[in-house]
């Protein structure tokens, strides 16, 4: 590795090259048919490992919500803290032990 003068880091946001998903012992899984797309999980994800995506291709709890964005978990970064599971108002996120 080449060290720059003053050991400065020149690439912003480069921790995203280092995936922390392997820290996880429990995996949160969103059940979209129960999800009301309130985005509370996205608000509180500390990574942030939950992304806002276009929601039209996802199952929906109520057809009125189809135009709303959905939360999608990026398992490359999710450390499995479970804040989203605990805060979900409709209990739409399951917490499943990672097993190989």
């Amino acid at each position: 590795m080449k060290i720059s003068r003053g050991a400065t880091i020149t690439e912003p946001g480069s921790t995203s090259l280092e995936e922390t998903g392997s820290w996880r012992t429990f995996r949160p899984v969103i059940r979209y048919e129960k999800c009301i797309r309130c985005m509370i999980c996205w608000n509180f994800c500390p990574e942030p490992a939950i992304e806002k995506k276009e929601g039209e291709n996802y199952p929906v709890a109520n057809p009125k919500l189809i135009k709303m964005p959905v939360p999608v978990i990026n398992y490359n970064f999710c450390k499995g803290c479970g804040i989203c599971v605990n805060e979900c108002p409709t209990k739409a996120i399951d917490f499943i032990r990672e097993e190989k």
Binding site: T15, E18, P46
Partner: protein, 297 residues
């Protein structure tokens, strides 16, 4: 412009699962937007967000020692002024409780007195979590830490009281001082927005749960921070220009929950349940604060 859908704090940082600090940081940056310079005192946040040779920050960021985050920010403010580029740049300082209440307090007090246009945010996890949970002046009464051990001859943990840092900063008569809690997100966002719209030194004290040091399940982070406010232990208020008579309490619980509900889920307070007198003492302290300020609000 609204930057809420942008992430200025990248994933892949090394914060413990369930740490509240990145939640605070991501929301502050979403509100302050891309024209922000971040000054970061030594502490958990600095360590976990910049594991060399990587960084989580997508904004200009400078790391300083514990003592001088506010002094460095003051220098940035003065330098930008000197080159005529001060106008629309936000300078935001993040310091932990150690870097703010303890070691960095002199530079913070100086920054407030000189009137620099800076937003200082203290994320308060109530001990030196990064070096191994040593007590700070911000550790609450009764809490276990690795330097306030609990045993037969010391049943209490920390015997001293938490330093009221936000009230001390309000006593500097700076334009804006507030306490904020990310579990109450709309209130949190409004306070950051309001602080950034005001010129001069601003100070925001946010609670930041530490799953490792507070000894609770990572998934309970937000729940416990919410309880801190609902029990009245961490009241949410704002004071402008140091006028305590016009304190505005921004979250008024209809009925304050008993403090036990906040203490119970945290391992650092477990020993207190053998000392019910001490829990009563904590409840009394909380009630006294509310009796003093509730009527003014």
């Amino acid at each position: 412009m609204n930057y809420e859908d942008m992430e200025f704090f990248a994933p892949g940082h090394r914060a413990c699962a369930g740490c509240a600090a990145p939640i605070i940081v991501k929301w502050v940056l979403k509100i302050s937007g891309p024209k922000t310079i971040v000054v970061n005192a030594t502490g958990c946040l600095e360590v976990f967000s910049t594991p060399y040779p990587h960084t989580s920050w997508r904004l200009p960021w400078i790391h300083t020692a514990f003592e001088n985050a506010a002094a460095t920010a003051s220098g940035i403010d003065a330098a930008l002024k000197a080159i005529g580029k001060r106008d629309d740049v936000n300078i935001v300082v993040f310091g932990g409780d150690g870097g703010t209440s303890d070691i960095g307090f002199q530079s913070l007090s100086g920054m407030a007195e000189r009137g620099h246009n800076i937003l200082y945010i203290m994320y308060d996890n109530e001990a030196y979590m990064n070096t191994g949970i040593q007590r700070s002046s911000s550790t609450p009464f009764g809490a276990w830490t690795s330097t306030t051990q609990v045993g037969p001859s010391r049943p209490l943990g920390k015997e001293e009281f938490k330093k009221p840092i936000a009230e001390i900063m309000a006593a500097h008569k700076i334009p804006y001082v507030a306490t904020a809690n990310p579990a109450f997100l709309p209130d949190f966002k409004a306070k950051i927005q309001k602080a950034l719209s005001i010129k001069g030194p601003k100070f925001i004290h946010t609670i930041s749960s530490c799953t490792t040091g507070w000894r609770h399940d990572p998934s309970k982070t937000i729940e416990i921070m919410r309880l801190a406010t609902e029990t009245g232990i961490f009241p949410l208020w704002e004071i402008e220009n140091g006028d305590f008579s016009k304190i505005k309490i921004t979250y008024m619980p209809k009925q304050r929950k008993p403090v036990e509900e906040y203490l119970k889920p945290q391992g650092r307070f477990r020993h207190l349940f053998n000392e019910p007198e001490k829990i009563k003492e904590i409840q009394k302290m909380v009630d006294e604060w509310w009796a003093k300020f509730e009527t003014k609000s």
